[in-house]
């Protein structure tokens, strides 16, 4: 069962070998059990995505961070100037 679940996860993620993809699509059309199994994983994936903790990050803050980074970089010597081989 675990192997079958792994196959459907790969199918969902677009990681299935094209040679067997068509066979799996046929299986999907004819097997309610496999339909339900794939559905469970599709649903789970959507729920997981919905738990992502996003943040409001204003354009002003983005610009401010960019400027701070470039100020920090100004003070540093570029890697190649240290005489290190690339």
């Amino acid at each position: 069962m675990k192997d079958l679940e792994a196959w459907w996860i790969d199918f969902m993620e677009g990681e299935i070998d094209p040679k067997i993809r068509k066979d799996m699509q046929t299986l999907l059309k004819n097997s309610r059990a496999d339909q339900f199994l794939l559905k469970e994983y599709l649903w789970l994936r959507e729920w997981i995505k919905a738990t992502d903790q996003r943040t409001e990050w204003s354009v002003d803050r983005q610009k401010s961070l960019h400027d701070r980074i470039m100020t920090g970089v100004e003070k540093k010597v570029p890697a190649t100037n240290k005489g290190l081989t690339v």
Binding site: E5, D10, F11, L38, T51, R61, V73
Partner: protein, 201 residues
Amino acid sequence: MKADLELIEEVKHGNKPAFSELVMRYQKKMMRIAFRLTRDLNEAEDVVQDSFIKAYQKLDTFEGRASFKSWLYQITLNTAKNKIRSTSRISVGTDGMSIGVNETMNFDLAEKDVRESLKGEIEKLPQRQRLALTLRVFDDLSFREIAEIMECPYDTAKANYRHALMKLKSKMKGNSNYKFWLERDERSFSERATWATEVDG
């Protein structure tokens, strides 16, 4: 738009505006990762700032075998973990956090329960499984990129992801609200099958 490698070469030859272009290109993505780990906007910005400066100083060590994006992600993850360790955070409260998590959406209790349960189960996953899962689902990274960031073979990255999903499916089966939402789905399955085959194609 110049490719990353082209910009990197310019930076190595002293062209700092080229680095500015790389910062603008990746700082949002790095902020997402940093915020997910630190759960604090100010700390996340510190992590991203430190990460970019480290990257600038270490550009000579970037050999181009992995993508620059993967390399930056690695630096960000390590910097964030070090930051969390150094601040000895045990639990993170929500005071003072400026989070916009679907603020306009109305949650009913059942839906909220599922989200909280799932978040809890994700936190309990082994670290590498959790990392593979979050990089794939939240950041839409390819398994090749995930393997580069995790410094493991491609198949190992996929295996970690699969194991994470299978474990979560097994755990959530015990949540009655989750089962309710699963059974309540009224969209025809053919829609989902079409979506799945489009993803596959």
